[in-house]
Symmetry: C2
Subunit: 221 residues, 2 copies
């Protein structure tokens, strides 16, 4: 937790620090991100940083929570609670993609902690955050079963892992592949992201939904 001093700061200064820190932690993995760099670019003294935060991890955790919170709020706002399972998944995908394009730094800071083999120090964040997401998805799938839109003979936990990997990996891989860029290039160059029209996004998502709904098999089940 940041110290009280941080919250006593004038909002514009506080925001400047947050922005610079987000940029640094988005650009480099945790252990390579440099506090010296952040304070220099934010125009404050090294010592001041330690008046605001306990240590490097404290600062990072604060930014991570911020990113997670904003992403969740963003997606939550876009999901129709009455929608059926497949519609809800589709809306989640669309909202997730939009969020990533609109808030590349936030989404990158969040993603940086989500590497299964990442820094020791972030492992707790990773574990907690993933299990929250999996629990949420599993619940959604269970509701889908109750509503009759999802088959009853699937392992709901496995299905949750599966949807999770689509949301987290497959979709991003495909988008980057079809844009012909790497994720680093895209983050470094926001205009690239704008090649991505709403139509294109919906097109890709409907393809993914097709796979999700019916799988790859040519045979009818």
């Amino acid at each position: 937790m940041p110290k009280q001093t941080f919250f006593n700061l004038p909002p514009d200064k506080r925001q400047r620090i947050i922005n610079v820190a987000l940029e640094e932690f988005a650009a480099r993995p945790y252990s390579k991100a440099s506090l010296s760099n952040i304070v220099a670019r934010a125009g404050i003294a090294k010592g001041s940083m330690y008046q605001y935060f306990e240590d490097k991890k404290d600062l990072y955790t604060y930014l991570f929570d911020l990113a997670a919170q904003e992403k969740l709020a963003y997606i939550g706002k876009m999901i129709d609670p009455a929608a059926d399972f497949f519609t809800a998944v589709e809306q989640t995908m669309l909202a997730g993609m939009r969020f990533n394009l609109e808030h590349p730094r936030l989404s990158q800071v969040y993603a940086n902690a989500m590497e299964p083999l990442g820094e020791e120090i972030l492992h707790e964040l990773y574990i907690k955050s993933k299990s929250v997401a999996l629990d949420f998805l599993e619940q959604m799938i269970r509701r889908g079963q109750q509503q009759g839109s999802v088959r009853l003979d699937v392992d709901t936990r496995l299905a949750a892992c599966w949807v999770y990997s689509i949301l987290g990996t497959a979709l991003l891989d495909y988008i980057l592949d079809s844009l012909g860029v790497t994720i680093k290039e895209m983050l470094a160059d926001p205009p690239v992201a704008r090649k991505f029209t709403e139509d294109r996004m919906r097109g890709i998502i409907s393809e993914v939904m097709k796979l999700l709904r019916s799988g790859l098999s040519a045979k009818e089940r």
Copy 2:
């Protein structure tokens, strides 16, 4: 490329260096892995390391190629070239899981480079390695279409990304989740991996194949 000196080394010494280095690079992300640590544990002088390898990246690249090569060979040996698409995917999954359990260090060194947001210096390895895998999977899917086992109306590249994410993320997530351990714990404690009987592995894979074949939809297509 390692220098000639490295290959002139007595095999046991060479192997000891490889083993210690694999352990280090498996345990820590690239930038945190320490050459000083490696040489100390391998019982050689710092300078000697630089008689064998150009620099840290050279050493890492060598280990990465080693891991990639072994993994490919292992999986290749287990795939029946005449099998249909779904069988081939199933065999790939099984072989991949077995390899991970039997060679945790190799698979971890390989996986460490496969993080999309990892170290700048490894990005080239990541890009190349992923595109090779995606091309391979896409080819497989195209053959599946020709054989009539895969629907013709799927975007093959997207399907490749999708299978890739299942092989890389979803499966591992589910396994770890169902064992109730993290990947770090599993790597640190090989006996845990042995909770994983052949039967259990096949059970999980057949569940995944069910999803892959027919998707989540309760409706018949």
